[in-house]
Amino acid sequence: MTSPAAYQVSHLDALEAESIFVMREVVAEMERPVLLFSGGKDSIVMLRLAQKAFAPANIPFPVMHVDTGHNFPEVLDYRDQRVAELGLQLIVASVPEALNRGMVRESADGMRNRIQTPVLLDAVEKHRFDALFGGARRDEEKARAKERVFSFRDEFGQWDPKNQRPELWSLYNGRHHPGESIRVFPLSNWTELDVWHYIARERIPLPSIYYAHEREVIERDGMFYAVNEFFRARAGEQPFKAQVRYRTVGDASCTAAVRSDADTVEKVIEEVAATRITERGATRGDDRVSEAAMEDRKREGYF
């Protein structure tokens, strides 16, 4: 027999195999799964894994975009192109529409992060989804570091961190009563760097804003925000042109860019490997509210 060393797999292969296993478990055991697709790199990687998990069959579930109305046009184009290529059904849960219907109200600071949640939950109820794939990773944030791969949500979509199901071996418990659901995070064990190595290895195209480009920005709280229809400079903030790229892609009104010359995937990997600031710390105004901002949003049913 060949020595055991010959039967080794790289860390990326091990992560890929685990994520594929998780996705197949969901499709085998749950009634109505959906994949949350934002056009961000994590959801793009998740979509690639879904392709691999069910090949040569098509991806056996629809994708859903919770659209805050504050989008980067490059990301929306990418979303539509990807969905068309893969022949997927796209469901858009629209925050502007919910605002029009009076279902939610704009928050004082204009950020739509929090009001996404009722819109998401409304769509889940309407389509009776019982499993939602999300691209969250445990390395992103300390509340996420404690969340299960199969994360149980009650009928209000709420996460109860103190009442989580123990998760042993690769045995995932997706049992739930009608109206309850499971959020599933196939990328739980991936880091930002793993995601980039995988994008490079698989040659996965991304929205162009992930790579360095010149953009008009202002600096606020040490972060660089693009000036556009969703984000206005305040008095005293002087817009200037800078080479930037996005590390995360979220709502265009609260996602900041980082200064960067990395215009290829190889350069991005080098940059991410050397960076000393976390992904969300560098780019998310919404996480800066308090020590427990993410935990609080998740309890309310956020991704």
Partner: protein, 434 residues
């Protein structure tokens, strides 16, 4: 998936792709677990400046005398408010050789439940003791749980060596005592390292304060410990997860069995048997989305196609005709109970999840409850409460396709689920089945 086969050990190490090591940490309160994890993350540049700044700010606001690295892992509001760790936290770091996943299992409450959870997927467990205190009851319990969960590699870190004058004698006394205890537990691989997590001695590089220590630094050991042979490459076990049948005009008559290889090596042409039916066939192809492969082995997720059309569904198992798991409805197992509201009771009915199979089960007998500190067996026990471990006999509604846990962690482990609440209430390790 493109499998990058690793070059043999004698070849250039830089040509070797990074692999993955999962480890769990254990230690009593204040033995230095958080400090050690913080140090590993810091020294491998996996700790980010904004994380550190946030921790420093919160520490200062709370009036801590030193930067409390525990705040890095204590992510929940209640944890920070109460200064305790509630749940298993996962942390990540990497060196050019390996990616590491740490399951940081807290020592305060729910200890057994958390440690069993963390250890279930661990290649290695790291147990900390305070050099001044030596082995305590908890150290023995940690070692026992690691052996119960069959964690293949154990590392005892004798921490705070700076507080015992870097004494070789102190270190050796603790190491000897632990080694003797571990021998009784049938621990396959034990390494003992004297460290100072606070000062960084023997963490990344060898300490100058302990020239008498000739072993590797902790990180050196973590990077090099040989885990490839831990997998069972002998017994072919492929639990069928999902049947792929494209409803398409371009791909017709395709039927593939998707799953993750639990153990053994599958190759096209191999004669196989499918359980529970017992039908035999041959492997026509082992496929991935990136094309067919010559071999599949753990932990690969693949799709297996057979030469014959036989009826196979989720929960079935592909194995070899001359090497099959047990097909059994009567299961002898060690069970760790994880539910605070209701204890395990003889006569209790539950759902059970084992590989990709689900069944119902009834607890026929509780042979004994084990005292995890003294290893004493209490045969008069009538139930298992939260964090208690015991030996049970179960009867299942359908046969499980099972191996002894000591031989196969994937086909030997199961979880018990309360059918009313849907909560995961127990973890089981099969001792024998018939």
């Amino acid at each position: 998936m493109s499998v990058e086969t690793v070059a043999p050990a004698e070849a250039d190490a830089s040509a070797r792709p990074m692999d993955l090591l999962r480890f769990a940490t254990a230690g009593s309160v204040d033995d230095g677990k958080s400090t050690l994890i913080g140090r590993l993350l810091y020294d491998t540049k996996s700790l980010f400046s904004d994380q550190l700044a946030a921790v420093e700010a919160v520490s200062a606001a709370r009036g801590d005398e030193y930067t409390n690295l525990a705040l890095l892992t204590d992510g929940l509001r209640a944890e920070r408010e109460q200064g305790i760790t509630i749940d298993v936290a996962y942390r990540y770091f990497a060196t050019p050789r390996r990616k590491f996943i740490i399951a940081d299992t807290p020592g305060h409450i729910q200890y057994t439940r958390n440690m069993v959870t963390g250890a279930s997927t661990a290649d290695l467990a790291l147990i900390l003791v305070d050099a001044r205190k030596g082995l305590v009851e908890q150290s023995r319990r940690h070692a026992f749980l690691c052996s119960l969960l069959r964690v293949p590699h154990l590392v005892l870190c004798v921490n705070k060596m700076d507080l015992v004058d870097w004494s070789q004698e102190v270190f050796e006394r603790i190491a000897d005592e632990f080694t003797a205890f571990a021998a009784k537990l049938d621990v396959p691989d034990l390494t003992v390292v004297p460290i100072s997590a606070l000062r960084g001695d023997n963490i990344v590089s060898r300490s100058e304060n302990m020239p008498w220590y000739e072993g590797p630094s902790l990180l050196h050991h973590l990077e090099r410990v040989h885990i490839a042979s831990d997998r069972n490459l002998v017994d072919v076990r492929f639990p069928v997860q999902y049947v792929i049948r494209p409803q398409s005009t371009t791909v017709t008559d395709y039927r593939g069995y998707a799953g993750q290889v639990a153990s053994g090596v599958l190759k096209p042409g191999d004669e196989v048997m499918v359980l529970p039916s017992g039908f035999t066939s041959r492997i026509a192809a082992v496929e991935t989305a990136d094309g067919p492969v010559d071999e599949a082995f753990p932990p690969m997720s693949v799709t297996v196609r057979l030469t014959d059309e036989i009826d196979i569904s989720r929960g079935d198992m592909i194995c070899r005709p001359n090497n099959a798991p047990m097909v059994a409805q009567d299961i002898e197992a060690m069970v760790c109970w994880m539910d605070e509201s209701r204890p395990l009771q003889v006569g209790g009915r539950y759902a059970i999840k084992h590989t990709t199979r689900s069944a119902r089960t009834i607890v026929r007998e509780l042979h004994y409850r084990l005292d995890v500190n003294s290893l004493h067996r209490d045969e008069t026990a009538g139930e298992l409460k939260l964090n208690e471990i015991g030996r049970v006999r179960l009867r299942t509604t359908v046969p499980l396709l099972a191996d002894e846990y000591r031989r196969n962690r994937t086909t030997g482990g199961f979880v018990i689920i309360d059918e009313a609440t849907n909560r995961t209430v127990g973890a089981g390790m099969i001792v024998e089945a018939g």
